[in-house]
């Protein structure tokens, strides 16, 4: 029988770790997640069922350590030429079981990319935070505190706004930054994260990108509080909530880099975040393929399995086709971020715009396909016991985050058509 591994990946791009990572994570997913995931929705607040699976993956198997340098207890992925493709495989396998776990895990990479990745390793911060992730068997989460109450993902709209709408402020007081502000919605907030990268401004209202700052704040720093998680349409394993910073003080060297540079490497987070989103999409869709195969093989119409009906097969073909395309595009995106020597820096406007294009392509196609697949199942489509409605809900959420489609469209239009006033 055909399996998910029959879908194409550009084999030239795969990391030497690919097979190993894929295998252990798939085993973990089969054993620790898939048997329990139908109960995840009701576990959204407490994570009683979800937490042990995270612990296994991140703490015990050590996936939360991969970005750190080897000498600090990590796996050195931040130094490799396979950051994108290795992460893609990892996220894809996790998301096949549960894309909320995919994003919760993936976002741990977000702040760490800033400090662990060539060519901009911040060794001092690596040393500072490596123990938090590398010297424990517990799952440790990080979060990127970006979005603010008014304007949503506007902050990502850097071409237009130059950071001028950021309300969270950082003031240097002696050797310390004093941070004040209110963030909401970040993945791994709602009480999950132990470490934040906080997007803030050193000069409120400024459009000078030198005033754009990313500062690390351990979650237990006095003055930093997290609200309860929000209830959402899906993605129970990903907690989102409010974070308040009230006169939070951290050492001055907790700023990722410094004026100008924080902004540049923040763009790298955007391109990698978009790549990660594609991996959540293809991972989920691979599992939909498996469930769909089961459905169309076992459910009968007029004495034949449903897949033998030509018109149904047409929908199956479109689904397989689009999953092929999404996956190839996802790996191409990962490759472009793996190899700045060939495709330019990860933070170039070109790579950011293209990653956004691929992401919103993947999401549009996923939403369209999942809608059609739900429909093939008739009323079973809405029943939790076929799992497909879960992926349907989750993938819709992937489509909406990172500023949603419209912000992506504007960035793509600006790059390819050099629009100047959008």
């Amino acid at each position: 029988m055909r399996t998910i591994d029959d879908f194409t990946r550009p084999k030239e791009y795969l990391s030497p770790l690919d097979e190993y990572l894929g295998r252990i994570v798939r085993e973990w997913a089969e054993k620790e997640v898939i048997p329990y995931r139908r109960k995840f929705d009701e576990d959204w607040k407490d994570h009683h069922i979800i937490e042990p699976a995270f612990r296994k993956l991140m703490g015990e198997m050590g996936m939360q350590r991969v970005l750190f340098p080897e000498d600090l207890g990590g796996w050195g992925l931040g130094h490799s030429n396979y950051l994108g493709t290795a992460a893609y495989r990892l996220f894809e396998e996790i998301s096949r079981a549960d894309s909320a776990m995919g994003v919760a895990f993936g976002v741990v990479f977000w702040p760490l990319i800033l400090i662990c990745c060539e060519p901009h390793v911040n060794r001092r911060l690596c040393e500072e935070f490596a123990p938090m992730f590398c010297e424990t068997k517990e799952a440790v989460f990080a979060a990127n505190a970006m979005t603010e109450p008014q304007g949503g993902s506007d902050i990502e709209n850097l071409d237009v706004l130059g950071g001028s709408t950021i309300q969270t402020t950082a003031v240097l007081d002696g050797d310390e930054w004093v941070i004040n502000g209110h963030k909401l919605w970040p993945t791994n907030s709602g009480g999950a994260a132990s470490l934040f990268s906080v997007v803030c401004t050193t000069n409120p209202g400024s459009r000078d990108l030198k005033d754009f700052a990313v500062i690390f704040v351990p979650a237990n720093t006095p003055g930093c509080t997290q609200g309860s998680p929000y209830e959402k349409a899906g993605m129970a394993a990903d907690k989102n909530g409010d974070i308040w910073f009230e006169n939070v003080r951290v050492p001055s060297w907790y700023r990722a880099f410094g004026p100008g540079e924080d902004f540049v490497y923040f763009l790298e987070m955007v391109s990698l975040g978009n790549m990660g989103s594609i991996s959540f999409v293809s991972g989920s869709m691979l599992n939909v393929y498996e469930k769909l195969q089961e459905f169309v093989n076992t459910q009968y119409f007029r004495g034949k399995p449903l897949k033998e009906h030509d018109a149904v097969a047409g929908v199956l073909a479109d689904f397989a086709r689009d999953l092929e395309v999404i996956r190839i595009i996802g790996y191409q995106c990962a490759r472009m971020l793996d190899r700045p020597d060939i495709y330019g820096p990860r933070w170039s406007h070109e790579n950011v715009a293209k990653a956004r294009a691929y992401k919103y392509f993947a999401c549009d196609k996923a939403v369209e396909n999942l809608g059609r697949v739900m429909n093939l199942l008739e009323t079973y489509g809405s029943d939790r016991d076929w799992d497909i409605e879960k992926h349907w809900r989750d993938l819709k959420i992937v489509q909406l985050w990172l500023g949603g489609k419209q912000l992506a469209q504007m960035e793509v239009a600006r790059w390819f058509f050099e629009c100047e006033t959008l």
């Binding site: 139908r38 929705d41 979005t147 008014q150 304007g151 949503g152 993902s153 506007d154 709209n157 237009v160 706004l161 001028s164 709408t165 919605w185 929000y230 209830e231 959402k232 349409a233 899906g234 993605m235 989102n240 076992t298 459910q299 009968y300 119409f301 007029r302 004495g303 449903l306 009906h309 018109a311 149904v312 047409g314 939403v367 809608g371 059609r372 429909n375 093939l376 199942l377 008739e378 009323t379 079973y380 489509g381 809405s382 029943d383 939790r384 016991d385 409605e389 349907w392 809900r393 819709k396 959420i397 489509q399 909406l400 985050w401 500023g403 949603g404 489609k405 419209q406 469209q409 504007m410």
Partner: protein
Amino acid sequence: MNYQELFPFPQERCEEADISLAHTVHQWGEAELASKRLELKEDYSRLIEPAMRKLLVDIGLQKILWPESFGGSAQNAPEIALPLTLALEQIGWADVGIGYVFASTFALCTTFAMEGNVQEKLVQAYAPLFCQSGQPVIGALILPSLKGKDSQDGPSFRGKALQARANQDKQAWTIEGRNMRPFNSGSNAQLFGVLCGIDGESDPAFFVVSGDAAGIKRKDVFLKTGLAASLNSDVDFDKVIVPPENLVFRGLQPFRAMLSWLYLGISATTVGSLFAAYDILKEWGDNRVIKGRGQVFKENPLTAALMAEIAMDILTSRMLLYQLAQMLAQPEVYGGAGEEKVFIPALCLATYITHAGEKAINSTMELMASAGYAKEWQLERYWRDVKTLQIHLGNRELNKMEIARYFYDCKNLEGGI
């Protein structure tokens, strides 16, 4: 202007009283549900039962089909299609699940209570339940379904498995079915409408069965993605015995007539939920500020363009909905609800409307980003509900076989509804 004025419908064909009923239902929705949105999120099941009682019993929507002698309002002529549509739009606006449960129950009852179909014994048996019990009454449909290989030995209808069999013994009928999955409300329906296979006969028969009949076993309520007001569960019929008059009809045409009414109900409920999505989006568009330049959301051309698409979907869906209502309301012009020339357009229109609904709400969610999927904003509930309504029309590809057969005179296409 509100949506009632913005989205044209053939007001010249509607009675004052019907528009007034819709207004009453809207007020009900506002008082019982819309104004309690946050409570609803926390404690849906506590609020939903009293809301249904107010609507069905106090306002009396469940009385419409029944004779005045039982306390009903005797609106069982086809013209009921227009007031039904007006009311279901408002129910759908307030709660899609209630709309769906009501529409299904209504469709079930048309089979023996609609003018032209009236079966006196059944009317006498069930009218008191609807008009005098003081309880909201829910009817569940058990229709042909895709099933596993094992089912292929059992009876089928147009390619799908019939979930039950009936056999006549002396006068009474005995109905048997295992692990049947009703279309709605398996756990709490007071009556069932079941399409059954009969040994040795090619046409199936449709039975009405009281929910308290001996031998009915209901399983646990299962989890599903939407339509929370429909508490569904698998059901066993273990030698359920029903009197001969409970065999309501045999064959294709009356089955299709019931479906035409169900399609109208699903379509009207969908359009109602689009009004709710419109209201939510309107509020968002009026208040959200983007681009950090004080640009109100709705004033951005790109988001406005998508908002326009959504409005167009609502506009066309509503117009087509009323076209369907008018077809069902005028059998003398268009034919009866079970005739192919009405049933097929009804299927086409319901297919269009439920897909336009999916598209419109999908786009609305896009525009609202995180607020689109946060339960707090309620939109995601309509999204889950509308999709679930849609799949109750059945597998679209198989349905298209019905449609192609009609329009292109195909002879050998398999399957369908």
